[in-house]
């Protein structure tokens, strides 16, 4: 297990360093950062002063090393917009996004898992088809379309739910539902497949054969087994949630990372954009590391498979 952990950890770090490197070189590829920062007619001495300040007068390698060192310290530069440290600008938005994302994850699991189980137990009946139709509807629905439909109906027609900001609990309802819909649909499909498959396994058939109640069998055997693919899936799904948060936060004026990203892209606030990309990468890598560890802990047989090569990790 220790070797496994070490390998996974090293791999995660390597991925992160690769991300930071990629962002650095893409940024340099994008041209002179000063061109977007300074007005066209800036005097040469001003340009030179900024060059020194941002270290652009040094070699690319020097810049890269100091950039890497600064990124490790969490020093991501200053926002172009108001000159505050980027780390601070981004950090103050994290709680709102976490609140939205966790809310959506909980809702997706709370609806998706039961839906999948119900569908599996009633396989090939009308109930199954109905539940699965709802699931397909959930994940095929473009998130922005669902968002504006819900705003239209609940905020503008019936005027029962707020639609902008995060002041009260009621503000959470619409954005969380919107963000959860796609994931809930996918979870339901996943669970259905997993449960149907497990119900077909000999040990479950044996258990039901022994006269145990069906529900007890599912609770005791099928669900824990289904959890393994579900965890793998959720590791992937985090990306969908983060991507969905960008659209959701924009439509609902939710003061989180996603809205900050869209606003910063609009204002070409490159340090903030870059910091958000790195933050997302760090989150995703950490999540997939945690998922691997949990999987290995749940099912030791997976350790060799998971630990061998990067390819196996997903």
């Amino acid at each position: 297990m220790a070797l496994f952990l070490f390998r996974k950890l090293a791999r995660a770090l390597l991925t992160l360093v690769a991300c930071v490197t990629a962002v650095f070189f893409v940024l340099r590829l994008a041209g002179d950062p000063l061109a977007s920062l300074l007005p066209d007619d800036s005097p040469q001495d001003v340009i030179d002063a900024y060059r020194v300040r941002f270290g652009l007068d040094r070699t690319l390698w020097d810049q890269y090393v100091s950039y890497l060192a600064a990124a490790v310290r969490g020093d991501l530069g200053l926002s172009f917009r108001d000159g505050r440290p980027v780390a601070e600008v981004v950090a103050e938005r994290i709680p709102a996004t976490l609140q939205l994302g966790l809310g959506a994850l909980v809702l997706a699991l709370a609806t998706g898992v039961p839906m999948g189980v119900v569908a599996a137990l009633n396989r090939n009946t009308a109930i199954d088809r109905l539940v699965m139709a709802a699931a397909v509807f959930g994940f095929a629905m473009p998130i922005f379309f669902l968002a504006i439909l819900l705003v239209f109906v609940f905020a503008m027609q019936f005027r029962v739910l707020p639609s902008a900001g995060s002041d009260t609990w009621a503000h959470m309802i619409l954005p969380v539902v919107v963000l959860a819909a796609a994931t809930a649909g996918k979870v339901a499909r996943y669970m259905r497949t997993a449960i149907v498959d497990i119900l077909g396994q000999p040990y479950i058939r044996t258990a039901t054969g022994k006269g145990l109640r069906r529900f007890a069998v599912i609770a005791a055997h099928a669900l824990p087994n289904a959890a393994i693919p579900l965890i793998t899936f959720l590791g992937f799904e985090l990306g969908t949630l983060i991507g969905g948060a960008v659209v959701t936060e924009t439509v609902f004026a939710w003061p989180g990372i996603g809205r900050l990203l869209v606003v910063s892209v609009g204002q070409r606030d490159l340090p903030v954009v870059q910091a958000i990309v790195l933050l997302v990468a760090a989150t995703m890598v950490t999540a997939s590391l945690l998922a691997d560890i949990v999987l290995a802990w749940l099912d030791p047989r997976l350790r060799t498979a998971l630990g061998s090569r990067g390819w196996a990790s997903s």
Binding site: S36, P39, D40, D41, S79, R81, D82, G83, R84, V89, E92, I148, V151, A155, M156, R159, V160, L161, P162, S163, A164, G165, D167, H171, T250, V251, F252, A253, P255, R259, L260, V263, V265, G266, Q267, R268
Partner: protein
């Protein structure tokens, strides 16, 4: 929302002295409502003279007071131009070059300081406002004429100008004359003050978060009386549909930047009202003299002549935006020139194009999608109008001013505000030698020479017929060079809860002073 009855107001007033002594009681006794305003954009700092734009002044108007107050609400259309006492109780001319202003006594700053001549001198000091290397470059357009400001006594100040200046009173009523607190400013410096401002206005700064919100609380020692809202929150909601949905669902009391197409939407709700006002601000197209094709003034004039402004106003602005007669507005009073126009003449445009040898080369029109209300719709219509006279224009949507003004631009958009009702407060500030148009060569130096000569003479002239003649010369030069053209004065619409008594100005300021904000 809590309704405020007269009884609660009386009760609150009685309780007020106790409130000062026991801050904890404040929350319970203060029944005044909270006002939440959703705006499209918020300024990044609150140093009032540093954010001389629609976004900044909308907010800073509640934190600071000007020396003299322009009485916008004195006219039914919200565009009154009379001046009335504000922080200044009276002012008089000592000579054409000196104005003596007596300030109100007992005015408090948010930090408890008394307003004195020291603060005024600090606000108008050379290093901040008008020196060669003034901290706030934009302020020179307003106060570059100053030669010195001196204190006569604790509450009296003399403003001296280098040349005779008939506009000093107007300048002191403009959005550049907000008085800042000297002690706070000296303690924190310009940057620190920008995020922790102290003024004398009806609301005091509490907190801000970039791109998100600003919170101000009532300043109960305000010299005009106790503010009517307990707290004012400005929320930045760039998405129009989110602002409207938020107003409808009750999270916002007031929203800004509602385009005309949405009036019908707001009209569907009984408790919401659209309040519109034609702005003392015009939308313009700019023609870059350094760009290909637009370097020829005949082509620039053809571009201007082939725009059917009436049609734009009728379709995009429900016929209610105003097409001013050139860069020339009735609010100038005696300085307004009657016989001017903003012509639509496609025949003349075609002739000019032929003369210039234009052969269908592509002209790039850059615009930001949401900065100016209706800009994206207007540009698409204008491009079709140009097509009708044979001009091939291509739209490029960009995200920032920097991108819009980067090399390769030929046509862009901008807006010009009438900072004070005189050509020197509008045309001259927007297009004069200190403007970015001249500094960057978009308004080319040789084209600008006659314009600048007339303008510099106008700055020193005091005799009305002479001033009118100089203004006419300026305007002729500007129209002939055609570095830009006026489209229309848009009307700005606010979406407001009906129960809120509040009138908009013909300018961006949002007046939330006790005499213009009531809840019923």
């Amino acid at each position: 929302m809590t309704r405020v009855s007269r009884r609660t107001v009386v009760r609150a007033a009685v309780a007020a002295p106790a409130v000062v002594l026991t801050p904890h009681a404040f929350a319970q006794t203060d029944r005044r409502p909270v006002l939440t305003v959703a705006v499209a954009d918020l300024p990044s700092v609150l140093e009032p003279a540093l954010e001389l734009n629609n976004v900044g002044t909308r907010v800073t108007y509640s934190l600071f007071d000007t020396v003299i107050r322009r009485d916008f609400l004195g006219a039914p259309d919200g565009g009154g131009a009379a001046l009335k006492p504000h922080l200044a109780v009276s002012w008089q001319r000592e000579s054409p070059r000196a104005l003596v202003v007596r300030f109100r006594q007992g005015v408090k700053f948010h930090n408890g300081d008394d307003l004195t001549a020291d603060d005024v001198l600090f606000t108008f000091r050379e290093g901040r406002m008008w020196g060669a290397n003034a901290q706030i470059p934009g302020a020179r357009a307003f106060f570059g004429v100053l030669e010195g400001v001196d204190a006569i006594d604790r509450h009296t100040v003399r403003f001296r100008t280098r040349a005779p200046d008939v506009l000093m009173e107007q300048r002191l009523a403009s959005w550049c004359s907000w008085i800042v607190n000297k002690r706070q400013y000296e303690a924190l410096g310009m940057e620190g003050f920008g995020t922790n401002p102290v003024g004398t206005g009806p609301y005091r700064f509490v907190s801000m978060r970039a791109n998100d919100h600003m919170t101000f609380d009532a300043f109960d020692q305000y010299w005009m009386g106790r503010p009517t809202a307990r707290r004012v929150i400005f929320r930045e909601i760039p998405e129009l549909s989110a602002r409207i949905a938020g107003l409808v669902s009750g999270e916002f009391d007031l929203i800004t930047n509602v385009p005309p197409d949405q009036l019908q939407v707001l009209g569907a709700y009984a408790d919401i009202e659209a309040r519109s006002v034609v702005l003392a601000n015009s939308h313009l197209l700019t023609f870059d003299a350094t760009g290909p094709q637009t370097s020829d003034k005949r082509i620039r004039r053809a571009l201007a002549l082939s725009i059917d402004r009436k049609k734009l106003v009728d379709t995009l602005w429900l016929g209610r935006a105003v097409i001013p007669p050139s860069h020339n507005y009735p609010e100038y009073g005696p300085m307004f020139l009657e016989n001017r126009s903003n012509p639509f003449d496609p025949e003349r445009a075609r002739a000019l194009l032929r003369e210039a040898g234009y052969a269908g080369q592509t002209i790039t029109y850059r615009t930001m999608p949401n900065y100016y209300t209706g800009a994206l719709d207007a540009v698409q219509i204008i491009i079709e109008m140009w097509k009708a006279v044979g001009i091939d224009a291509r739209l490029q949507v960009v995200e920032s001013f920097a991108q819009m003004q980067a090399r390769g631009q030929q046509v862009g958009n901008t807006s010009n505000s009438t900072r004070f009702p005189d050509p020197l407060g509008a045309l001259w500030i927007s297009w004069g030698p200190n403007s970015s148009f001249q500094r960057n060569g978009w308004f080319a130096a040789e084209d600008a020479r006659p314009f600048n000569e007339a303008g510099l003479a106008l700055e020193r002239a005091i005799d009305l017929p002479e001033r009118r003649a100089l203004f006419a010369r300026m305007l002729d030069a500007w129209e002939d060079a055609c570095p830009g053209t006026i489209l229309y004065q848009p009307f700005e619409t606010y979406g407001v809860k009906r129960r809120i008594g509040w009138r908009p100005y013909s300018f961006f300021f949002m007046d939330l002073r006790p005499d213009n904000l009531r809840f019923s």
